[in-house]
Structures are given as structure tokens and as C-alpha cells.
Subunit: 650 residues, 2 copies
């Protein structure tokens, strides 16, 4: 379905400040209309899970809530429900993000069912699979798991041990777990509700391995009993997401008909021969995994919403709560008036905006690639890299921010009725699933290095490269920069940094550009040296582990700043634009401040300028303090959705 | 009782590496004997709570476990059980730390009952209170709450609104909550099990206020019903510590006999007149609060143990788990062999040692002050400052470390059966209770500034102060330094830092000393300037909030390094000493690296030296990698106490 403003289920009416209204519009960005409709139609009754429920109750409630949402047209929104339906990635992501305003178990179970299980059928299957399964998946009569991860192979999907062996005599596949470590693990819907799984395994045809493929395997009968050859396990109580029934699955020579293989990119023909549209097995593998990109866009977006919920609660609390009388403040000082408290919360609010603008750009890239229009392979790769990086930095940010918000609310923050600990528990695992953050950051840097080498080699052929590698590197980086706005700003200020002020956007751009370029360039140099190293190759590259993480971090910060700058340009309201300018400066200076050691080490800033950063951050916090409420309103979480007693009591 | 090695309840036999044995002895330090006995006698059957239990079950189990521990002689150990018994702070702290090896709800409920409620009676009461209540408190027939915090006044104890008014006609006190914000909140034992509370309120005698005092008030009858005038509330499900029944209490003109006031430091005589052994009301207030110091020592110690449990699980997992094949490692690389993974865990292991050594010194200071021997007022103040700082830095460290450990174990880390999320949930609030960390760090700096001003003024009188404040500050700091070892080391290297290597302990000492001195000195200068400021006094001081936090942090780091250096000297084994030297260097360089921007900004290190830090940290991680198991053994958590499935599976 498409969300429409007609007959909203729970029309949301919230009185916002003028600046708050404009800030929300800015952060909703190009998708303001879709998001407004989603907010207006989202069923809010019983949107939060009771934290005191046990695992059984939580799972039952979560499944029921998913069914209710589906009945209200808010279930599989954006996901195709048959062979003729097309996917609508924009609606899918906006729906996921809206779900993240409420119980995250529901969000994730929805993601498992529609995004992962449904997504595997949609993206890896063909017309027969679509017609046969998508209607049942989207109306929730068929619940399924996405059985990729194995006990022995968390992030290393290429090494999964499960086998999918073609049996020519019966024209079937045999799915088998050859070892205990081949057991599928952490699979949502596997512990209890799922009756089918999309299983990832090594395809073997006539003794030959063709790499990882995916096959649909029924795992339970209607009564909930494991089917013959299937052993499921319940992974029970977890750190959070109690409503999601994660479990294990292992296969003992389980046979399924040939057509159950999701064979869009490769499978066995009626003649019993393996055929694939992609000859290179490595490229085939990454093409199949690449279809997972929407999940990462969703998870990052959901984590961003979780962080905004936490900040909304903590800032609204700090605008009411007084502690310790002071001169001229006999009733106590508002928490929000303590500079230390501002420093704990406002830079995080600023970063929430920054990440939100970058998420909008990521959605645009996803829509471009998966929305039905033609797209290039470069655009697909760029989308995957960006999604991996955004997922990592946003989920880490959400975890840290919710903890800061909890502590900023003191003992009240620890009561489940104030939601912070509950959101924190649920969002914890976002840093691991859909790709471990550390591994995803490695992927980002790997892609950057590939681009770098390619451009380097092109430049080299054309004779542009100068005598020294140092200079060549700089020029190359400029020539290949995708961030033209940052680049233009940076160029304008490059020759006179000390004359500029700390809130000069051109100076921020220069710093972000330099950090990303120089760290990548020096890593590339170390990589070249390591590849010539005669010693233990693993150790040569292993030594660069922290550098690899840094490069990805610097690259993502650059993308995020770029997105923020673009968004400010779009804002029509003068006062709001000023607030956004300051918020952007706070984000930029907070990022530079956190890395100021790097900037000094690389002679990008003097020690005097570095010392001045903190004073400027303090000044921005003071300037934004009067807009604290508007800034929180702009984050877009309606106040009465927060469900936090300390906020409701006002 | 005193723990004795006779008839151990669950004699623990664990086979350790030689280095592991020596490391454990080093970390156990001066209290190795007491800790060995505690380990050998701790009842380990059913030591961990089932995470799937609900609030009711968790509370019932926690109370029963507390009773079982008491029966095994492990309950109120160290706490006096009658008027003639003396307190034994060493046994009390060692017992608390041992309890923290298991379920933290039990640890905290024990802390509420024996440490806070029992501690109030012991320290604020007199012989009658001791004889009347301590036997029942220690045998658990009288469960009580420590009713200090109010809804409206979390950290601001001086502002509590509850009144304790003397009624001369009936020779009683009337305890009353004049407003909703006067409601006592977050009180352990208040929601369900407690029948009495030690209530903090403003004492009023004949219309005159005498500041905060504490009175014992019965709150429930034996059937569990609120007594007349008492309204208790249940704060229900929390972020963790489900076994502790935190609740609210409010009082509606509740009368109790005069003798119920804990009047050691002040109360009403039989003649109806207020008398106190401490004339200055401010000093009286802080003397009463000062008796809480043992609780802070315990909480910091418990948090340190929680962090060690997390690191023990994550490192032991990383020593078994392989991911991604690499050249020469066809079965995959051990997680512990990835430099990035070493960097995530080993500096935290090093800091665990550092904090453990500092905790030992803190215990020694507590024993000196509260162990019955004479102690000076300076020693008491120094103990309070150190306890406040250690509580803050250790509880923050525990929270961050458990999250890092969770992520380092991936999806397995999220399963409750692997304990990490459970410990994390429980230890979260350690950052807030027994004093909010941010507020406690302010107390540390306040004490440092007081010392600084006092010494400055003494020096000034004696004519030592030089012409410029800058030089005077340096000299003063040296003259008043309590850290003679650091000072001696630092002096030896002061004139030639660039010639020294990064692992030269003298250079570490110099950096830690300089950071602590200079940041304090510059804050003192800003404070002097602010006090002369004609504008809004609150804002003048408010602007220094982050600087105040930094000074406390720098001071605590200095104390911690000092403790580490002292402990190395005590180690008798050569190889272990080498491991400790490297571990100390890793801690020191990690601390300097985290603050390297500060050191560059203040011209303490060059940008070249700063860049070299990371390489040296990497080298130390590689050097310590072969000792990873020994290091974890040394942390002192017996492997079979971890209760983590991923560790047991080996």
C-alpha cells in the first residue's frame, strides 16, 4: 500500500513553536510529505510494550501488534505483495523509521518478516516465488526467517558451511548442516513463529561448488512442530528485543523441490545444469548480498530515531527539572542551564540533525537504485558503501546517546516507565546485526581504497601524476572528490586558515576534507608498502586495523557535513536557517574537537586554535540554549509518543 | 563475622598459569589473604539470577539469596551486629566486592540493608540504637530503607523538604512530607520488603531549623501494609537490578518517639533543647554525609568487579573464536589476534588493573579512618575526595567496558545466557546512585581547590611565592603534591623529555603530574577572576563546568598511576613484574593518548611524539597478547563463576 492522508487512523495534532515547525520540515526534508502522512496515520494506541512482560508475553504481543499494524495498512507498506507489485523503497524505509518511534521489537520483527525474509524472496527470487509467497508473506499468513548467520560464522558469510546439494535423481535440493558450527543462529522468527526460512548455503551441483545461494525451506508444521530433519532452538532471553523470537535452525539432509531455490542470479535448470546470469562467483556473491542494502538503510534510520527519542526525553526533562539553588535562582537552576548539561546533550542534538540529513540523502540514493529507474553499477556500489557506513555510525551514536540521556535524567532515567533504558536495551544489538559495525567500517574503507587505486591508475596513465607521490596523492584526492560543495568551500579558504573564524563553514569544509583525504592517502601508502612486505602478510595488514577504522570514520563525517550544508540551503525560514547554521557549526566543531589531536598532529590546526575550539563550542551551546525546545520539536518525535512519565508530568 | 579459611563452603580450585597466579596475587594486593578466603568460602550455587524472571520472582529470589548468604556467614560480614560489636570496614568492602562477582541485585540489596540502613544506625546512632536495631538488621529480621533522596532533590541533599519537627508536649518527632516533591524516591527496600526507614529531613526544634538529620521511622506492619500516615509506592520495573524493590515513601504527620532520632551528632535532649557535638551546621551536615563514604568505596569496587567480569568473558571468547581465513590461517584468525580487537580490549584490561590497585589504596585509607585507629580530619577529607572520584571513574569505566565487551562478542554477547547484557543493565545505575558521577567529580575538584587555596595562602604568608603567579603556581603544586613517587620520577626526567622513550615511567609520571597540576592551577586562576566578575555570578562559574570535570579526571588519573607504580614494586616474580610493567605502560599511554590533544595544546608533547603514541600502544598490545589469558586470570574472576555459555563451551 501507499500511505495516504485520507482517513488518518490517529491524526496527530501537536502545537509546535514556529522554529520547531520549520526545523521539523527541514529534517523531514524531501520526504516531508511522506513522513507527515506516516505520523498522521500511525496507530499509536498501545504502541509501547510493557517492560514487565516476560519473553512469551512479549513475543505474543509483538506478533499481534504486527497483525494490527497490517490491518491498519501500516504493515508491509512499500513491500511488494505479489508478482505484479513493485517495491517502493521510499515507503518501506519511511514505514520502518515510523515503526522505530514505538516498540523496537515490532520494528525488528517487521524488518525480519518483510525486509529480510520478504526481501530475499523479492530480490533473489523470480516470478514464481513472488506469486507463490509474497501474498502470504505480506498478509502474515506465512512467517519466515532469514537464515544467513551461522554459529561458527557471524560476519563471514562466504564461509557458511550449510550445503544445498542438487539431487538429479529426484530433481530436489538437499539442505544440510554438516557440523554443529553450521547451525543457523540468531534467526528472527526461528524460535517460535516462523514456518519457513530463506536459508543461505553453499550450492553444490554434480560435485561442484557454486558459492552461496539461498533456498526456501519449510521448517515447521501448522501446529508449530519442527518438520522432519529440522531442529530449531530457542535462544531465549536476550539483552533486549524480547518480542523477537530469535532461534537456531539445523538441517539433517532436508529435501525441498528444485523450484524452492531463489534462483534469480543462479540455479539449476530443468536439465540439471547450473546456470547463472553472473559468471564471476565473487561478483555473484556480492550481488546477492547487495540486495541487503535496504535493511542497512532501515537499521541506521531506526537507530537515528531511537537516539532522537532519547534526546527528546532528556532535553524535555532538563527544561523542567531544577537542582541546586544559585545566585539569582533561589528555586534551583534548570538542568538545561548548566553548561555541563548543555555540553552533554546539545552536541548530540546537533549530530542527530546531521545524521538525519545524511539519512535523507541515503534514502534518495536507495530510491535511485531500487526505485525502478535505471542506475549504474557505480551508483549501486556507492549506495552500499554509504549504507554500511551510515548504519555503523548511527547505531554507535544511538547507543552512546541513549546512555548519556539515561544518565542525564539521573535515577528517573533508570525507571522503565521513562523508556530510556528500554530503548537502550533494544537498540544495543543494532551495532551488530545487519553487519557488525567494525566489519562494515572495514567495507567502507575497502571501497574507498578501490576507488583510490582506480583513479590513481587512470591518472597515472594520463600523465597527470607529479614527481612525488605526496603531491600526486593530494591532487588525485581533489580530482576524485565526490564532495564538490565541500571542495569548493575548502578551496576558498585553503590559503588562509588562521584568518578565518571557527564558525566559518569554509574552514569546517577544509578540515573535514583534509581529514578524509589525508587519512585515506596515508593508508593507501601503507597498504602499498605492506603488499611488498616479505613477512607475514596477515600481520602486515593487521597492523593497519585502527587506521582502517579511522579512514571510514573520516569519510562518513565528510558525507554527513556535506548533507547538513545542503539541507541548510533548502531551508526557507530566516530564523530557522540561523538556528540550523549554528547547529551545523556545533556538529562540525564537535567533530573537529573530538579529532583535534589528529588535526594538530597533521599540522592542520595550531595548538592555539585547538584550545579555542572548546570556547566556541560553549558559545554555540549558549546561543542554541534558547532554542532547545524548538530543536527537540524539530527532531520530529511527537511529545505524546514519547511515553515517558517524566515528560508527561509537565 | 570474620571470614576464615576453615570449612570453606565451596572451596574453589582453579588451575592458573604461573603468571596468572602472580598477577592475581598482585591485584589482590595487601588484601590477598582476605580475598582468597572470600573466594574459597563464597556460596556459588545459584549465584546468578535467571534473567527471564519477572520483578516479583526476582525480588523474592534476591531476598532469599540474601538470607542464604547470611546463613553461610557471608551476609553482614564486617557490619557490627550489636552495641558491643565493632565495624570491620575491610571485611565489609571485601564482602561487597565478592558479592559483585554474582548477581548485582543481591549485592545492592545487601548494600541497602547492611551498608546504608545498617550504616546509618551504626554511624549516626548511639548505643541504644545499636543495641536495639543492629541485631535485627544483621539477622535480617528487620529490613530497612535509606530514605535520603527525594523526588524533587536528587543530588541536592541539603535541600530535602521532609521535616522532622520536635513536639515538646508528647516528647515525639513528627515526620512530614510537606509537598509532593518531598516524597522519598528510589529507596531500596521501600517498595515491598522494608518495615522501617532511616529518613533524612530538616530538624525543627521550637521553630528553629537545625539542618538535615536522620530518624528511624517504622513504615509497614508485619503483614506488609503501610502504617498510618505512611504512603509507599512501587517504582516497578527498572533498567536493571530487578531484584531490588525500589519505591517511594511519603509521610503525613507521622509521629515517632524522641529516641528514634539517630542523634550521635545532634538531637534534642530530655529537656527539649537541641544539642550537637558540632557547632557549625555546615560542618555537621558534611560530617553526617561523610559517614556514607564506605558505600562509595563499595560501589566503586563492585563496578570494578563488574568490568572485570565483562572483560574476562570477552577475552576468553576472543581466545577461542575464529573469523575470516587469512594467509597462513586457513581455519580463520583468532579474534584476539586482530590488532583492532586487541585495541578494544587490552587497554581496558590494563585500566582494570590500574583501577584495582587504586581501589586497594582506597580501602587502606578507609580502614585507616574507620578501622578504629586514630585518624586526622585531613585523612578523612582526603578519603572522601578519593572515594568520590574512584566511584565516578570506575562506574563510568564499567558501563563503557561492558558495552565494548558485549559488542566484541557480537550476537552471542546479546544473549542473556552470556551475562554481558545482564551485568550491563545492573551496573548502569552505579553511575548515578551513591552520588551522581558528574556531581561527585565536582566535589573532587572543589576539595582540590580548597587545598590549593589553603596552601597558596600558607606559602604566601611565608614569603615563598615568587613574583609571577605562573611560577608560584608551579612551585606550590610541587610543594603540596601528595604524590612523592610520581614527583620524584617526574623531576628526574623534566629537563629532557624528548630524549626519553615512550615507555619510560618517568615520562609518564611527568605527563600525569603536569596534566593534574596545570589544569588545577589554570582553573584556580579562572575562579579567582570569576569571583571578581561583576556580572551574573552563577554564569561566571557555570562557564567552568567542563574545566571542573577535567581537573577531577586529571587528578584521579594521577592517583591511579601512582597506585599502579607502587603495586609493581611489590611484585616478587620477575616475569610477572615485566607483564605488569607493560600493562602499566599500556594504561599510562592509553590515558595520555586519550588526552594527547591537551598535551599538545599545552606544549607538553610535540605533534611528532603524539603521533608516535599509537604505534607504541599497538606494540604493547602485541607484547601483551601472549599473556592475554594470564592477564584475565589475574583479574581474579574464577572462570566457572562467569556463568557465560560462550566461556563454558570451551
Amino acid at each position: 500500500m501507499t500511505l495516504t492522508p485520507e482517513a488518518p487512523h490517529s491524526l496527530h495534532t501537536e502545537r509546535l513553536t514556529t522554529v520547531g515547525t520549520h526545523l521539523r520540515a527541514a529534517l523531514d526534508g524531501a520526504y516531508a510529505a511522506e513522513r507527515a502522512v506516516a505520523r498522521a496515520t500511525f496507530p499509536t494506541e498501545g504502541m509501547l510494550r510493557d517492560p514487565s512482560w516476560d519473553v512469551e508475553q512479549s513475543r505474543a504481543w509483538t506478533l499481534q501488534r504486527l497483525k494490527d499494524l497490517e490491518e491498519h495498512g501500516f504493515g508491509h507498506a512499500g513491500v511488494p505483495d505479489g508478482a505484479d507489485a513493485v517495491q517502493d523503497p521510499l515507503t518501506a524505509v519511511v514505514t520502518f523509521e515510523t515503526l522505530a518511534h514505538a516498540d523496537l521489537s515490532v520494528t525488528i520483527k517487521s524488518g525480519v518478516q518483510f525486509g529480510l525474509f520478504g526481501g530475499a524472496v523479492t530480490n533473489l527470487g523470480t516470478a514464481w516465488h513472488h506469486a507463490e509467497f509474497l501474498p502470504k508473506i505480506t498478509d502474515l499468513s506465512l512467517l519466515g526467517g532469514f537464515a544467513m548467520t551461522e554459529l561458527g560464522h557471524g560476519s563471514d558469510v562466504a564461509s557458511v558451511e550449510t550445503t544445498i546439494t542438487y539431487l538429479p535423481d529426484s530433481d530436489e535440493y538437499e539442505v544440510h548442516s554438516p557440523t554443529p558450527s553450521a547451525t543457523k543462529a540468531y534467526i528472527g522468527n526461528a524460535a517460535s513463529h516462523g514456518t519457513m526460512a530463506a536459508v543461505f548455503g553453499q550450492l553444490i551441483v554434480a560435485g561442484q561448488r557454486h558459492g552461496v545461494h539461498t533456498i526456501l525451506v519449510p521448517i515447521r508444521d501448522d501446529a508449530g512442530a519442527d518438520l522432519p530433519g529440522i531442529t530449531t532452538g530457542d535462544q531465549g532471553h536476550k539483552g533486549g528485543l524480547l518480542g523477537v523470537d530469535n532461534g537456531t535452525i539445523s538441517f539433517d539432509h532436508v529435501r525441498v523441490p528444485r523450484r524452492m531455490l531463489l534462483d534469480r542470479y543462479g540455479g539449476v535448470t530443468a536439465d540439471g545444469v547450473y546456470e547463472s546470469t553472473i559468471d564471476n562467483p565473487n561478483r555473484r556473491f556480492f550481488t546477492m548480498l547487495g540486495t541487503l542494502v535496504r535493511g542497512r538503510v532501515c537499521v541506521g534510520g531506526g537507530a537515528g530515531i531511537a537516539a532522537r527519542r532519547g534526546l527528546s526525553i532528556a532535553v524535555r526533562h532538563a527544561l523542567k527539572r531544577r537542582q541546586f539553588p544559585a545566585s539569582g535562582r533561589p528555586d534551583g537552576v534548570l538542568l538545561m542551564d548548566y553548561l555541563q548539561h548543555q555540553r552533554r546533550l546539545l552536541p548530540r542534538v546537533a549530530r542527530s540533525y546531521a545524521l538525519g540529513f545524511a539519512q535523507n540523502e541515503l534514502i534518495a540514493a536507495l530510491v535511485k537504485v531500487q526505485g525502478g529507474e535505471p542506475s549504474t553499477e557505480d551508483e549501486q556500489r556507492e549506495l552500499e558503501t554509504r549504507a554500511a557506513g551510515m548504519k555503523s555510525i548511527t547505531t554507535w551514536f544511538a547507543n552512546e546517546t541513549l546512555q548519556e540521556a539515561r544518565e542525564a535524567c539521573g535515577g528517573a532515567g533508570y525507571l522503565s516507565e521513562n523508556q530510556l533504558t528500554e530503548i537502550r536495551r533494544d537498540v544495543d544489538i543494532f551495532a551488530t546485526f545487519e553487519g557488525d559495525n567494525t566489519v562494515l567500517m572495514q567495507l567502507v574503507t575497502k571501497a574507498l581504497l578501490t576507488d583510490y587505486r582506480k583513479e590513481w591508475s587512470d591518472l597515472d596513465k594520463s600523465g597527470v601524476v607529479q614527481a612525488t607521490a605526496r603531491v600526486a596523492g593530494e591532487q588525485m584526492a581533489e580530482a576524485t572528490s565526490v564532495n564538490l560543495v565541500l571542495d569548493r568551500l575548502a578551496s576558498a579558504v585553503r590559503r588562509r586558515p588562521e584568518e578565518t573564524t571557527l564558525v566559518d563553514r569554509r574552514w569546517h569544509a577544509l578540515m573535514f576534507e583534509d581529514r578524509a583525504r589525508h587519512s585515506l592517502e596515508s593508508l593507501a601508502r601503507r597498504m602499498r608498502a605492506a603488499s611488498k612486505d616479505k613477512g607475514d602478510q596477515f600481520e602486515s595488514f593487521n597492523a593497519m586495523g585502527p587506521h582502517v577504522q579511522y579512514v571510514a570514520h573520516a569519510h562518513m563525517e565528510r558525507l554527513v557535513l556535506q548533507a547538513f550544508i545542503d539541507a541548510i540551503d533548502e531551508c526557507p525560514d530566516g530564523e530557522t536557517k540561523q538556528v540550523l547554521e549554528r547547529t551545523c557549526s556545533l556538529y562540525a566543531l564537535d567533530s573537529i574537537h573530538a579529532d583535534r589531536a589528529w588535526f594538530m598532529e597533521h599540522n592542520r590546526i595550531s595548538s592555539g586554535r585547538s584550545k579555542a575550539l572548546e570556547g566556541q563550542i560553549d558559545a554555540l551551546c549558549r546561543e542554541l540554549r534558547p532554542h532547545a525546545l524548538s530543536l527537540v520539536e524539530g527532531l520530529g518525535i511527537p511529545k505524546d509518543w514519547l511515553g515517558a512519565a517524566i515528560v508527561d508530568e509537565s
